[in-house]
């Protein structure tokens, strides 16, 4: 049987957002974000010699219950599949979400629950 034709996945579609399982009120914690993205610099060429167009993640924002808690303008200082760590302080339980956009307009997002004991 012939091989399946696999559609290319747009960059920045997959990510991991990791927070500690359970937090105490007022506790500082690190939210870790890992995004699957090639972060093309525009300096590389493919096997046929064609220049791979630059495409890096420009903006990353973190929202807690739809309220802005972090905004980063990240450009080509980051490697492929970038990892971001953001220091936050836990006040109440809620939803932490991350959103990003690259130079070609691909957007991605991921969210996770933050659980604070007794709040």
């Amino acid at each position: 049987m012939a091989d399946a034709v696999i559609a290319a996945i747009p960059p920045g579609r997959h990510a991991r957002l990791i927070v500690p399982r359970l937090l105490q009120r007022g506790e500082d914690f690190t939210a870790r974000l890992l995004i699957q993205h090639p972060m093309e610099t525009g300096f590389r060429r493919d096997d046929t010699g064609k220049v791979l167009p630059a495409n890096v993640i420009e903006n990353v924002v973190l929202l807690f219950n739809d309220e802005l808690v972090f905004r980063g303008r990240v450009l080509n200082a980051l490697s492929a599949n970038p990892s971001l760590s953001v220091q936050l302080t836990a006040q109440k339980s809620g939803t932490l979400s991350a959103h990003w956009r690259d130079q070609m307009g691909n957007v991605g997002s991921i969210s996770t629950e933050v659980r604070v004991a007794g709040a």
Partner: protein
Amino acid sequence: MRLVSLPTNSSAHRATVKRRWRDGVTFFCRSGVLLAGLALCVSFATAADAPKLGITGTATDDAVSKPYPTALLRSGASFMATHLQAQQADDDLNPGMLWVDQGRERFAADCAGCHDGASQQRLASSLPRVDRSGAVQTLETQINVCQTSRLQRPTYPIESAPLLALSSYLAFSARGEMQRLSSDVVRSNAWKRGRDAFTRVQGRLDFSCAACHDKMAGKRVRTQAISQGHGVGFPAYRVEWQGVGSLNRRLRACYFGMETGVPAASDPALLDLELYLAWRSEGLPIEAPAVRR
């Protein structure tokens, strides 16, 4: 025979030469038969004794010695820089986990109907295996066997995103399990072909896989440490690839480095080599998805 000095043109001389020649031929013939008989005996003896003595190094003997005893096995991670070791050890920083997540979703959708957790956990550590037809089944080919036979779907291309996701997830499921193959694997022709490929001197740089990975592990080639050449971390995230790749891709990169000409990804010789490598690393735990430079 008496040696006398005689004039070279005398009839006595001609007779002597003739006699010597005849004696010589007779001696040669007789001794030739003797020698041939002796050679025959020796060859019979060699054929009969060789497998028992292990002289020929054939794989008929179960006690084929491995290049590294279990106590001296070291996975590729121990030859990496400390920051790469730390990245591999922390799942939140290990980019290979992005592929594992996608494989987990795909496994739940396609495979969980047949496979339970326990068989899934053992699968990657017991592969590659040699099937009844003598062909090598690796984790990747086994996934494609399921695709065609159980799911009635076309196979995934080698190094395609869904195949890498599934193989990463299954190898991750077996993390910590010891690599352990069927004990009769050394009697298979695939194993012999794999061993021959590993030990054969090839390429413009004129060395074999074994010349470095069996004999020089821990030393350096240019600036990089030479590993023992175990594949237990694969599918692995390689910094050079900026992504996860299979052992098949890694081996092709090895051939590129050895300047042999790079085999096609579908070349069955690479499967034989994967089988031999897994046998060499029996006793090491699976550590996929590893981070490699």
